[in-house]
Subunit: 328 residues, 2 copies
């Protein structure tokens, strides 16, 4: 199909693999190339007609690629790659360091405006779909409160923190919404809740031979920032159990807006996700927004954008007429 | 505040009253006037500084009103008022005759383009917020199915149908999602379900003296289009019970997208509403989109729009910078 949107992927970890899988479900898109910092031959990519190239070759593909999806991490990859690729391509990324979003936006905006490209930053589910729901529901019900819950899901950052504890051979950490807190919010009680009052942290840990489990448990539970303020549960399991029962990457969560209108009428809006694979879902969101970036750029809307600036119609491969007829 | 958006209301039934209440929660908006087909003096409007005028006076208010919110019904009011007011004002309406939306869109679009005004049609929750969720979630998870459930909620059209049955002195009808169907969808089973397999219809009926209740029940349950295809429950109550327990207008429902990514990973997205007052909530959505219509028009985007074409950022009174910092 000559009208296919040509996509490139930068970074081939869980997210990059998810993007490749998501593009296969989109007949209007074509994956052209995957760019990596590793030796290209070392990647096992089994997709016909897709080039695997070193990241340093990307700049010679500006005519072959309509949108580049940046699949690196927010800590060190994106602060560098975001502006760098926005100087050459329309881009999508999932930058999620909330506190630094304004600064990151400005860097990418400057680069994208200079090149006349369109870059949509911080795409995914949070930031992303959850953010859209926070914005829209607050605008619709100004008199109320918004509650974001995460989980049940595997938290990569907290799992890493547990793994750094002395005597831990392997570990995963699940974030789980506290049911009583959820019910209060769904009932429109508008409670005041700190993040720690909304979530439980459950760890599954493999201890190394000869280490004191009680000491490991104590060290996890008192770890500042990560666990000290939370109700934390530590379960010791075997390496075999860890592999068999905890190697998927499920996640999810919900955003609830609880507001009042008129003479004290309660109105509750909830948006929720229940995901078998967090990286594959995030990737699917990135791919839908790649379609939007391509279209916005064709209209001359250069610069950095967020999901807040993108009209829903740009996400769908269908025409506006078709959407009005079938989905409105 | 000189920068307030000046709003007018056309039609002062449940929806119009809800719009007036919603505007009171928006410091960036001001309700200027209510237009009615009735004798203006016959309306009891207790809002300071708001004019109550006959609908025929509206055209002399084109300089005083930024956005007109049309609160009439879809059967006869809006097909006439939509194009008529789009020739004079930016407008918002809740046109909800699904099958005729394309035709209505074209009529309003022609009028609005001729006047240089912006009209957002079919705003509310369905069509409206549910439609946005159907569009976005299908774009994100193309391999899957979408399920819209309505209720538990009072259906005005079905209540009216029951009231037309001989011997019925009063009645309400609630539409209720069938729990087994909901669970199958939430579990990602992707069942094939007709509307009648997703919803139960429960009626509360006051019978007139001397009428045979069994006959009334039979007549309701066999009514074509409305009830014949559904599992329907008829409960007889007293006039006092009808007034005491069934005079609110609750509603709600949910849109579920159940999709698969990668190697058979289930991904579920759900958007749900639980509303004490259907008209007040719909009104709150209309008011947020009035803000969007005003801004789109200031940017020169004339013509008819739907919720599909409106970027989320236009709904909020906050600046894009503030939203990126606080809600992304």
């Amino acid at each position: 199909m000559s009208s296919q949107i040509k996509v490139g992927i930068v970074g081939y970890g869980n997210l990059g693999k998810g993007v490749a899988a998501a593009i296969e479900q989109c007949p209007d898109m074509e994956l052209v190339a995957i760019f990596t910092r590793r030796t290209p031959d070392s990647l096992s990519v089994n997709i016909p007609n897709v080039k695997v190239l070193h990241i340093s070759d990307a700049e010679s593909y500006t005519n072959e690629i309509d949108v580049m999806i940046l699949c690196g991490g927010s800590a060190t990859d994106l602060p560098e790659q975001g502006p760098q690729f926005a100087r050459l391509f329309n881009t999508i990324d999932s930058y999620d360091t909330h506190a630094k979003i304004p600064e990151y936006f400005n860097m990418v905006d400057e680069a994208a405006k200079a090149s006349g490209k369109t870059s949509i930053i911080s795409v995914g589910w949070d930031p992303g779909l959850f953010s859209i729901n926070r914005l829209m529901t607050e605008a619709i019900l100004p008199n109320g409160g918004t509650y974001s819950f995460w989980g049940k899901g595997l938290s990569q950052g907290h799992s890493d923190a547990v793994r750094r504890v002395d005597g831990v051979a392997g570990a995963v950490q699940y974030t789980i919404p506290i049911e009583e807190a959820v019910e209060k919010v769904r009932n429109g009680e508008n409670p005041e809740l700190a993040t720690a009052e909304k979530h439980l942290r459950v760890c599954y840990v493999v201890a190394e031979e000869g280490y004191d489990k009680a000491k490991i448990e104590q060290e996890i539970k008192t770890m500042p920032n990560y666990f000290a303020d939370y109700e934390t549960e530590v379960n010791f399991i075997t390496a075999e159990e860890l592999k068999a029962d905890h190697s998927k990457l499920p996640h999810g969560g919900f955003v609830i807006r609880s507001g009042k209108t008129g003479e004290d009428n309660k109105q509750i809006i909830e948006f929720s996700l229940n995901l078998d694979s967090n990286p594959e879902f995030t990737a699917s969101v990135l791919v839908a927004y790649a379609r939007a970036a391509y279209r916005l750029n064709n209209e001359g809307q250069a610069g950095a954008k967020t999901v807040f600036e993108v009209p829903p119609v740009y996400l769908s491969p269908k025409s506006a007429e078709e959407l009005r007829r079938d989905l409105l």
